[in-house]
Amino acid sequence: MESIEQTNTDSKIISFHFTGKASEYFKIWIVNGLLTVLTLGIYSAWAKVRTNRYMYGNIYLDNEPFAYTALPVNILKGRLLALGFFIMYSLSGQYSQTLYIILTVSLLPIIPWVIVNSLRFRGKYTLYRNIPFIYKGDYLDAFKYFILIYIWVPLTLGIIIPYIYYKQKAYIINNLYFGILPVKYKGKASTFYIAFIASTIITLLSAGVIVGIAMALGSSGFFELLKNNIEHAASINVPIIATVSGIYVLLIISFFIGSAFYKIFILNNVISSIYCGQSQLSCSMDYIKYISIFLTNALAIIFSLGLAIPWARIRYNKYFYSSISISLKDNLDEITSIDEKDIKSFAEELGGFLDLDIGF
């Protein structure tokens, strides 16, 4: 089942595989949801671990799966602490304005700390062949790239934003180690600028094309309706509402096409610029394939009232991981690990609660 191509004597290209099944994951997903409700949310820590165990355990490289080994109790502790902070934060606004401001300001140094520690936690409990990923990111750097750097946004009228994303990706990837093998990101900032500009152009173009087609198809009726509506502004006109909301949906679709381009362009370029030791990763997702998977997934989820979520996730993961491969120059059998102190899960959980998305 592995697609192994021998390119030369010291490097071979191996593809990732995702072997999850919708039928298996559906049962895990629904039990997770029900038990989370029944335990008033406490089970969510177990749900997270079991989901990750299932997902990681089905990612294969060279016939060996990844493994997720975090303990639910650690995640629960972190979650409760994060919940406590969150409750204090929301209540403080009602009782003391000063406390609210203090807590808000204190979030600034806390956010990078949460980012560093959640990356550490996630790495530590992700194993491949008994070797964990170690994250050695520095707090001050995190503070620099996730807080301080934003000072430049108003000064550069936002032109720096793609560069910020580039620096953040570089910070996240460059401090990761697989055992003793350093993971390095050799991408360029220009990737992010191209992605930004191209996705904007694509959004505008597709919006123009879509609305143009829509208007050409119903032009006679449309302008008539528009005219009628302006003349009788007070009366609510059902056809005009349908037309306007139809255009609205079409604009959302064109925005989606633009952001899909951004996502795929970034994923392909960033992953393809990652080196683990001497071995280079490669990602080759296809725009059309991605958009068709995303749209059909969205439709299935909507029409199944959410029950298709597990199927959709498995389907996306299958495509995503089959698009990634590694040109192997290191001997996977001879990787040694380095020791790291215990890492508290609180930081990762605080990150989850405040909805900080730090993956790529």
Binding site: K27, I28, L34, R50, P65, A67, Y128, R129, N130, G179
Partner: protein, 347 residues
Amino acid sequence: MTLTSGSNITGTLYNKGISTPHTATLYYFDNGDIIIETESTTKKLHISSISISPRVANTQRQIIMPDGDMFTTHDNNAVDAMIAKISPQQKNTIQSLLYYLESHISAIAALIVVSIIAVFIFIKFIFPAIVTHIAFSIPTSTLHLISEKTVEYLDNQFFTTTQLPQARILTINAQFKEFIATIPDKDNYTFTLYFRHSNFIGPNAFALPDGTFIITDDFVKLIQHKQELFTILAHETAHVVYRHGVRNILLNSGLLVIAIAIFGDVVSTTTIGLPLLLIHNGYSREFERQADAFAINYCKKNHISGKHFVNLYKRLQQKAPTNIPSLLSTHPSDEERLSSFMAIDNK
């Protein structure tokens, strides 16, 4: 030491800190001893010293040893058989129960039924009971503060000073005092009546948690009889003494917090919004029924005909007709309310 039948598991052994895989076989014995053999090495340990990862579908299991070595295998059934055979105390853990749930569709169906019943009981009984308990432990000073702030807000947003003639105000005020004197619980609240004018709100009369009543000019104009005023005041008094106002706030915000905490990861807030609105309207309708029951009881005790409520209500409907479907409305349907008031006179 005797080898029991079928008592071995094939897998891979990794030594601590190095990724070299060694094809290995794990043998286990009735007394709990375990031997892991590779081509070149043999390890001997006891079942009590190893940690076996929980089973999730058919993903690879990890058996982690005290020295940091790891044995991995895809033979989940063999691992489960080993646990059942030589470490039965590990068999009935939460994790193995979870695997049972996740692999039996009938268990999942049962869990769905249990969940629906539990959610229903929670929404219908437990949560309102907790909220009621909290609402009645709120000190009167807090109720007073809430009401004061509400009046301040309403005055800023909607109300201007009353435009009623002074004589009318004096009459209504005297009738209000007369009404309050008949309320047994009057000492716990500071019953006062405010007259306000509003172009937006129209005919309306309502009570705030501490017993402050606000009545709009348009509403006063609808009143043709003292008894009519009493029926409305009785209804609103019920909201005060049952603390419906604060209970409403607590129910609404509490439910939202719980829903976001549980479903926040899964679905968007807008998806939660509609079911919450329906549940919340259910609570509100319950309060209105309770207030109507209180008013009906009051009428019976003080020999007030239900016609007074019905007449005032019909005049109000003409002024401000409402056409909200019952599921979305906070008040019970008109026919339901009016017929229960009409029933007063039948006895």
